[in-house]
Amino acid sequence: MRNNKFWSIYLSLFAAFICILFPWSGIALSLRPDFMLLVILFWLLRAPNQCSVGTAWFMGLWVDLATGGIFGQYALAYTITTFFAVIYQRRLVLFSSTQQLVYVFSLLSLSQLILLILKAFAGHEFLGWTYFLPSVTGVLLWQIAVSFGLNTGRHSHGS
């Protein structure tokens, strides 16, 4: 069981990474949800023992490599985001599905905000509010996955 879950975690993370590697461009790029963070958050809620801050940091490094930016940007954003996710993970059992969506949305935005601050340090300009669109599409994707029957750990814990 444990082994099985281990594999499904890493296969899904791998799939998310491939999704990031797709040749996105133009509008699709500005709408692209952060697949990696979504998958990490999902496993953080479902299997906090196997997927934690360290996993997020490690996967963040790969995303850094794929985006070609400075090493550590996504890693740091994912680390801080997953930290907050872990803190509130136990309360999530009590959350309604709407509350859960707000929770996921704020985590996704937090990650983008951290990236924005890091980019601002590197001398880049704010791209306007469309910058936060990926958080919205990310939540939509989350909701679609939930409505297709994906158990996001709301009513099951320690499974």
């Binding site: 790029l29 550590g72 930290f83 590197a122 880049h124 300009e125």
Partner: protein
């Protein structure tokens, strides 16, 4: 085996609820520190360049997999393109080839003439640059930077610093090379500057990418600068990176305000920054080739960057005096010494149009 037992034991000892290892705060501190250290190392020191290269090699097969669907779509799309469309395209390309052939013939003659004139002036031969055709694999995934990745890399002798050019003009510069791909920073990226000249009057300037909308800025030019809307910017070639004379951008807006001593100039790139799949990577050879005509390369310093200096005009004017002597040593070039000897001093007069004779 041991591990399994250990895990079972561990789970019995502490409920899964608490078996989390170090506290989240400890993990946060540790990994944040790691990230900050990595960022500092990567942005200030060059240690990680090699690591990145190795990892990119690892990543390459994944990239190929990820590109497969769109690649397949493109291929099938081409396969099913209609007969009529192909005929039309063929006719158009033939016509284009014909007009370009004619232009090329003139270019050959002009090249020959240019070589002769340069010989007469003992000026350095212009460099023959090497070019590699590359195809865009994907555009950068970071919306803050303007970057594209192409499918040619170190294995195909792409070097960092090569200029990326399409049919209409310069589009960027190679900033990172990996074994089988390389990263091109577009000229619209905020961190890229490109030395340009106004085609109309030879005025030199440096164009900076704007970063957000696909435009270029020409900062630090005085408000009374002679630039008009519609002026064309071409590469000046002073930098030793871009070949001289390539189209870069067109001025679309020129504003002067009361409160700033500088003009506000916005330019639109001429190259198809956003809409091409193929491009050329043009690199100037590192070592200036020994002049093929046998002249010692003393007319201009052999350094890569001919910074504007007092030596440059001397280098141009001095050969003008000795030009007839130079022609006598080269019987092959004697076809038009009389014509060339007359206008020889003129390059120093309109020095702005020549890369070597800057100010």
């Amino acid at each position: 085996m041991m591990r399994g037992i250990h895990q079972n034991f561990d789970q019995q000892q502490a409920p899964a609820f608490f078996a989390r290892g170090p506290s989240p705060l400890a993990r946060l501190t540790f990994f944040t520190a790691m990230s900050l250290a990595l960022m500092a190392t990567d942005s200030r020191l060059q240690y990680l360049a090699e690591v990145r290269e190795k990892l990119m090699t690892l990543l390459h097969p994944l990239q190929v997999i990820a590109n497969a669907p769109s690649e397949l779509y493109h291929n099938t799309d081409e396969y099913f393109s209609t007969h009529h469309y192909l005929l039309a395209e063929n006719a158009r390309l033939k016509e284009q080839a014909l007009t370009q052939d004619i232009a090329l013939q003139r270019l050959n003659i002009l090249n020959l003439e240019n070589t002769n004139l340069r010989d007469l002036l003992e000026a350095k031969q212009s460099l023959t640059e090497t070019s590699i055709l590359a195809e865009i694999i994907h555009v950068g995934r970071d919306s803050f930077t303007k970057k594209i990745i192409v499918n040619r890399g170190k294995n195909h002798h792409v070097i960092t610093g090569a200029a990326a050019v399409d049919a209409k003009g310069v589009i960027g510069q190679v900033t990172r090379t990996y074994p089988s791909s390389s990263e091109i920073t577009l000229i619209t990226d905020k961190s890229l500057a490109i030395p340009v000249q106004i085609e109309r009057n030879g005025l030199r300037a440096i164009a900076f990418g704007h970063g957000r909308d696909n435009t270029l800025d020409l900062p630090y030019l005085p408000a009374n600068v002679d630039i008009k809307r519609g002026d064309k910017l071409v590469t000046s070639g002073i930098d030793g990176v871009y070949p001289a004379g390539l189209a870069v951008a067109t001025v679309v807006e020129m504003k002067t305000t009361q409160d700033s001593p500088f003009a506000h100039i916005v330019c639109m790139p001429t190259g198809g920054i956003e809409n091409d799949r193929q491009l050329l990577l043009v690199s100037i050879p590192e070592v200036r080739q020994e002049s093929a005509t046998g002249f010692p390369a003393n007319a201009a310093p052999a350094s890569k960057k001919n910074r504007p200096s007092a030596a440059a005009p001397v280098a141009v004017t001095a050969p003008a005096i000795t030009a007839p002597a130079a022609t006598s040593t080269k019987p092959a070039q004697n076809t038009k010494p009389a014509i060339a000897a007359e206008p020889a001093p003129t390059p120093s007069a309109n020095a702005g149009s020549r890369p070597h004779a800057q100010q």
